[in-house]
């Protein structure tokens, strides 16, 4: 499998082709987004960005955490293919103390809701439509607790009409002289009918900074991947939880193959990079990052949770700044896989920035844009693409804000304004944008897989909600198609039902439900 990983030859690209370096134009000054993630020690982590379509106009709107500043919602007014344009809107989300933000349709009413991760009480905010929200902790039975919440993921467990939320918590903020080893409990908010039951502590907890429900072994039941900050735990490690319906959560064990890994875990990104049907995982850390792939996939039976680190082999590295004269080790936060040049190969963006002013780590730490080559390796292009910003970056979101088929970028910075870039790449490949929807519960089909037949291989994206660093995307998922003008596409829905393969024209956005496919004008 390893050989296949590196030796993959893609027919969508001519062999030996140069990687197309995308071009991004920074439009921070004109895009109408004005947000600073502020605060001192209690806000050294967090600073998330979330996307959602809160006004049903098929554009990705933005919510940005503000730390001690109120969180803000920005309505997307970007013309198709035009400059990025957002308008701040009073939404009800203007809460202080917000570190993280994720959108999801909790009550399956077709209107996206929002969870705000905070210093103090977390908030479940019910979407009212037209980008308005109201507190719903009480009506939904959501116990927001009182902690330093820093990670989130959501899934719909089989047979449930209400989502299961995982919330990751960080240090006991009341500890000043000896805060190390004070990690507080993570929580699992499982359904109790059409509301949440009492949160279940996910002990042991090790200061989670990213969580992701993901079907890593394609069993049909997602597990909960937790990336933990070794700076603060004692006796801790990275974690993977079983979450079987009706059963208490339990950790994967060494006897099952799980191997201890201890990093400054800060963000999780997932993507099936080698087209074997199983996701790879990129884990951000300090001075090092991990790109994990399953060590072995048996011909019969499911794989064990044994992962190999192939970051070095694939040059998916971002251990120190690649420009500038500060060569101290880097600090990575949000990571997200997207195909930014539409060549059919998923690329990787990493938001970077010093925790505060740690002189042993780079103070000028450019964000990374790692472009995937046809041999499966990566090359750095952040500077050539124009996104090598040096702020204390934390959260980010990559989405096609102006609906031109090119992935744009927003980055949240600590103590400095958030930044936006419009992807202006010329001669990029073809693309496809897919928005899933289904009736009943789990309207956004979290847990589904979208498959795109590229001829020689199949691109797959698991529809997850969570991960990254303190924020994530909800809505359409993007595929680069290279030179292909149309592709067969199918969806494997969260209940395991595989939809039919259907040809779809490139350079289009489709809304796919189990019973229909609709092209968005």
């Amino acid at each position: 499998m390893k050989a296949a990983f590196l030796g993959l030859c893609l027919t969508a690209l001519p062999v030996g082709a140069e990687v197309l370096v995308p071009q991004f134009a920074e439009e921070t000054a004109t895009a109408g987004v004005n947000q600073i993630y502020a605060g001192e020690w209690e806000y050294m982590v967090g600073g998330g960005a979330a996307t959602l379509d809160c006004n049903a106009d098929a554009r990705a709107d933005l919510i940005l955490a503000g730390g001690t500043n109120p969180a803000k919602l920005f309505v997307n007014q970007s013309p198709k293919g035009g400059a990025l344009a957002f308008a701040e809107a009073a939404s009800g989300l203007e809460q202080p103390g917000v570190l993280g933000v994720y959108a999801l349709d909790i009550d399956s009413d077709g209107v996206s809701d929002v969870v705000l991760l905070r210093q103090g009480e977390n908030l479940a905010m019910r979407g009212l439509g037209n980008c308005k929200f109201e507190r719903a902790n009480e009506v939904w039975g959501f116990d927001g607790g009182d902690a330093w919440s820093s990670a989130f993921s959501a899934t719909w467990e089989q047979g449930q009409s209400w989502p299961t939320l995982a919330v990751g918590d960080y240090i006991d903020r009341k500890e000043d002289m000896f805060p190390w080893g004070s990690c507080t409990d993570n929580w699992l908010h499982r359904p109790d009918g059409l509301k949440f039951g009492a949160p279940l502590p996910l002990t042991p907890s090790f200061c989670a900074l990213s969580m992701l429900f993901t079907d890593w072994n394609r069993s049909g039941t997602p597990s909960l991947r937790v990336s933990n900050d070794r700076e603060y735990y004692k006796g801790g490690q990275e974690q993977l939880w079983h979450l079987e319906p009706g059963q208490p959560p339990r950790l994967f064990t060494e006897a099952e193959g799980w191997k201890r890994l201890r990093i400054w875990g800060m963000g999780i990104a997932s993507q099936d990079l080698n087209f074997d049907g199983f996701p790879e995982y990129f884990l951000t850390s300090m001075a090092d990052n991990k790109l994990q792939t399953l060590a072995e996939i048996p011909a019969d039976g499911g794989p064990k949770p044994v992962f190999s680190d192939v970051a070095f082999a694939r040059h998916a590295i971002a251990q120190r700044p690649y420009i500038g004269d500060d060569l101290n080790p880097s600090t990575g936060w949000h990571a997200q896989f997207e195909d930014v040049n539409n060549d059919g190969l998923t690329d990787l963006f990493i938001a970077k920035g010093n925790v505060d002013a740690m002189p042993d780590f780079a103070l000028k730490d450019p964000n990374n844009l790692l472009l995937q080559r046809e041999d499966g390796s990566f090359e750095e292009a952040g500077d050539r693409a124009g996104v090598a910003a040096m702020g204390l970056s934390r959260g980010a979101a990559l989405a096609d804000f102006n609906a031109d088929g090119l992935i744009d970028l927003v980055v949240v910075n600590r103590r400095e304004p958030a930044q936006l870039w419009r992807n202006t790449t010329q001669a990029a490949g073809h693309w496809l944008s897919v928005q899933l929807t289904q009736d009943g519960v789990n309207r956004d089909a979290i847990g589904a897989w979208v498959e795109v037949d590229m001829g020689s291989h199949i691109q797959r994206r698991e529809i997850t909600l969570g991960g990254g660093h303190a924020g994530g995307i909800l809505g359409a998922r993007h595929f680069g198609l290279g030179g292909l003008a149309s592709v067969p596409v199918r969806v494997i829905w969260p209940d395991g039902t595989a939809g039919a393969w259907q040809d779809m024209a490139a350079d289009s956005t489709y809304v796919i439900s189990p019973s229909a496919v609709r092209a968005v004008p």
Binding site: W41, M44, I171, D176, M177, F178, P179, W180, G181, S182, R230, E231, Y232, K234, G235, R262, M286, A287, D288, D309, A311, F312, A313, I317, Q319, R320, L327, N328, P329, V355, D356, A357, M358, P359, D360, F361
Partner: protein
């Protein structure tokens, strides 16, 4: 009892009225609490690999000792250890020894851990302010001012002394950005998939000035077995021993390997392990201030000098790790229990510094001094009991073989090298 709870209680001894062994203003509370914080800072400051951590323990130990010695009329280390000039004299007038010691350590810890992250900075500030307020409570203002001024002068003297030893500036967490690997199969090869660790840690550390080792007289570990891939050679046999041991590890051997693993960033490091042992003993036995300060100075200097000696030889011999050799010669799929450290194999750093620690602590406490080592209790690793310091050191050494990261010669000769280092520490005149 969890270590954190223990620390909280110790903190309470400073802040609460119900006090255990030492009173609220007992200077020992200052000494112990700052050293406990330092054990955490070592773990949570990225630059503090074991050699760098050991250096800080050495200087902080001397700083604490000199503060105590100047008030108790004890013999100074100035003129005994390399490069330390006589410390500032005290002015006439009364001093509060707790305030002096707190002023010394709050300044010195800030200096040696100035690069720590925001949480460490916050912790240092909290200890400086809260412990300082408690120590000043009830002490006349002029005495406080005089004591703090003197403490600051001592700390600044130590800091100035430390700047010339060659170890004051550590960049890129100690890894050179450019490095040429040795030619030939006997030489170290990177074993890590981390980019930064494709060069070895701190290749120049062996050139640093030590504390008690006379300059130019670093004790050597002796020649390692000659490199060979011949199955009849000593080298191959030692590799085979590592390999075969790894295949038959008992649960007890795994426990031992992990107990002494002492990984940087995930533990107080190997030198911190021995400082932790020393602290536990001093508190358990209610040692007085002078003996406590002396012990912490000696153990700190001992492990610091041991790392200099060890690192000197590591880069003289530049030897291949078992991971590289065994996968090349014996079994290409072999994996180690412990993560192989990113620097040459011979001699073993943990063994050398454990040998030095055992030699130093045995001289202070005796040949058959038994103790419980609870260094890793907070990490869920139970305490282990040892009948002597050398029993602990020997276990630390063989743990590296169980972990698959050292050949036997590196462990055995490392212990001997450490003992020779310890002899220099033991020759210092203090109490």
């Amino acid at each position: 009892m969890q270590r954190r709870q223990f620390l909280a209680l110790t903190g309470a001894s400073v802040f609460a009225s119900a006090l255990p062994a030492w009173a609220a203003t007992d200077p020992r509370a200052v000494l112990f609490n700052w050293h406990k914080l330092v054990l955490e800072l070592v773990r949570h400051t990225a630059t503090y690999s074991p050699p760098v951590a050991a250096r800080s323990f050495g200087y902080l130990g001397v700083a604490g000792y000199e503060a105590v010695a100047s008030g108790a009329g004890l013999r100074s280390l100035a003129g005994q250890v390399n490069g330390l000039q006589p410390l500032p004299a005290r002015d006439a007038g009364a001093y509060d020894e707790g305030v002096v010691l707190h002023a010394v350590l709050s300044e010195a810890v800030q200096v040696f851990f100035g690069n720590t992250g925001p949480t460490g900075q916050r912790a240092m500030a909290a200890m400086r302010d809260k412990l300082g307020a408690r120590m000043r409570d009830g002490v006349a203002a002029d005495v406080v001012a005089r004591s703090e001024a003197y403490g600051l002068a001592v700390a600044q003297h130590i800091e100035a002394w430390s700047q010339s030893d060659g170890g004051a500036l550590v960049k890129n967490m100690g890894f050179p950005r450019d490095w040429t690997l040795g030619k030939g199969p006997e030489h170290w090869q990177p074993t890590s998939l981390i980019v930064q660790q494709q060069a070895p840690l701190l290749p120049g550390w062996g050139n640093n000035r030590g504390f008690a080792m006379p300059v130019g007289m670093i004790p050597g570990a002796g020649e390692p077995p000659a490199y060979s891939e011949d199955p009849d050679s000593d080298f191959y046999k030692q590799a085979l021993e590592v390999y075969e041991t790894s295949k038959t590890l008992t649960d007890e051997q795994k426990v031992i390997a992990r107990f002494w693993s002492d990984d940087p960033m995930l533990s107080p490091t190997p030198p911190g392990h021995w400082v932790s042992v020393t602290l536990e003993i001093l508190q358990r036995d209610g040692s007085d201030l002078a003996h406590s300060a002396d012990a912490l100075a000696r153990i700190g200097m001992g492990v610091a000098d041991a790392f200099i000696a060890c690192w000197h030889d590591k880069f003289v011999y530049d030897r291949v790790r078992p991971y590289t050799y065994i996968r090349r010669v014996i079994d290409p799929k072999w994996e180690t229990l412990l993560i192989t450290p990113p620097f040459p194999e011979y001699p073993s750093g943990h063994s050398t510094q454990s040998g030095a620690a055992a030699q130093v602590l045995t001289a202070m406490f005796g040949d058959t001094f038994s103790f419980d080592d609870a260094t890793h209790v907070d990490d869920g690793i139970p305490a282990r009991h040892f009948g002597s310091f050398w029993a602990a050191a020997e276990e630390a050494a063989v743990s590296r073989l169980y972990g698959g990261i050292h050949f036997r010669a590196a462990n055995d000769n490392g212990l001997k090298q450490g003992a020779a280092v310890g002899d220099y520490i033991n020759a210092l005149k203090t109490l």
